[in-house]
Amino acid sequence: MNFAVLQFPGSNCDQDCVHVLRNVMGHSARLLWHKENSLGDTDAVLVPGGFSYGDYLRTGAIARFSPVMQAVQAFAAQGGPVLGICNGFQILCEAGLLPGALIRNRSLQFRCEQVYLQTVTTASPFTNRCRPGQILRIPVAHGEGCFFADAETLAQMKANDQVLWRYVTAQGEATEMASPNGSLENIAGVCNAQRNVAGLMPHPERASEAILGGADGRLIFESLIHSLEEKKSARAA
């Protein structure tokens, strides 16, 4: 598969994403500078973490107007899979590709630690290789990861099964303490109604090799690759 990993001024997890896709997952991945107008031959887009444009104005607010994001909008509208990680999640929310917004952590602290995520649904291109309810141990590193959506949007998201991951304790309880940022209903990651665009605050690319302390993040990349392969073989058939 061909992955495009976007690169904005201030992205800093772009190389990690490329490394995991290429060297761990064994697929082709290339960096795409934010000034590009086209995605080229791309099966899926990754919007990596970092501090695009210095987080000026609001996190992700300026990056969403980059030329490459126009191409991502068009790609997503045609059903192309897009995954945003951390700042990438913030950018996708600002772009209106995902519902809600990410605001300052309730504690006002920048939180950098391992968290436990519960897989809320396996019915998505990003979770299909997980067991229902499977708990993943993946690190977070952010100051603005508190998910917010108004009551109407949240109800709609739940009705559409759009919450993909929640912060839980190691035992799987969604307590207030289990969440590093005070997110609404412990939400860690969501997808759009069409299910081809997703975002999460934790960093699966930092948890895809045992040598880094855990490989649970691989399941998210494996899910995405699995769904791309299924799509490809369905097209060939």
Binding site: L57, R58, A61, A101, I103, R104, S107, D150, A151
Partner: protein, 79 residues
């Protein structure tokens, strides 16, 4: 001309900064505070003198990029 823009968190949105500032003020002995909301203030210098056109443009900018309508409200004046 100048546009003076104030952006504030929506009432329904958690405002941990406001809460922390309020607690600090109370610790310092300031009394009678029922809420603190921390927002942003922007000044944009404008060329030209057509106030209506400026108003229209600034409103669009506020809606599109300067504020996020999911979490923030904005108001502005052209002076």
């Amino acid at each position: 001309m100048k546009a003076k823009i104030v952006i504030t968190p929506k009432k329904a949105v958690l405002d941990p900064q406001g809460k922390t500032v309020q607690t600090a003020l109370e610790h310092m002995g300031f009394t009678g505070l029922s809420g603190v909301h921390v927002g942003k203030y922007l000044e944009i210098e404008l060329t030209g003198s057509d106030v209506e056109a400026a108003r229209k443009q600034i409103d669009e900018a506020c809606h599109k990029i300067l504020s996020n309508p999911v979490i923030e409200d904005y108001r502005f004046e052209i002076v």
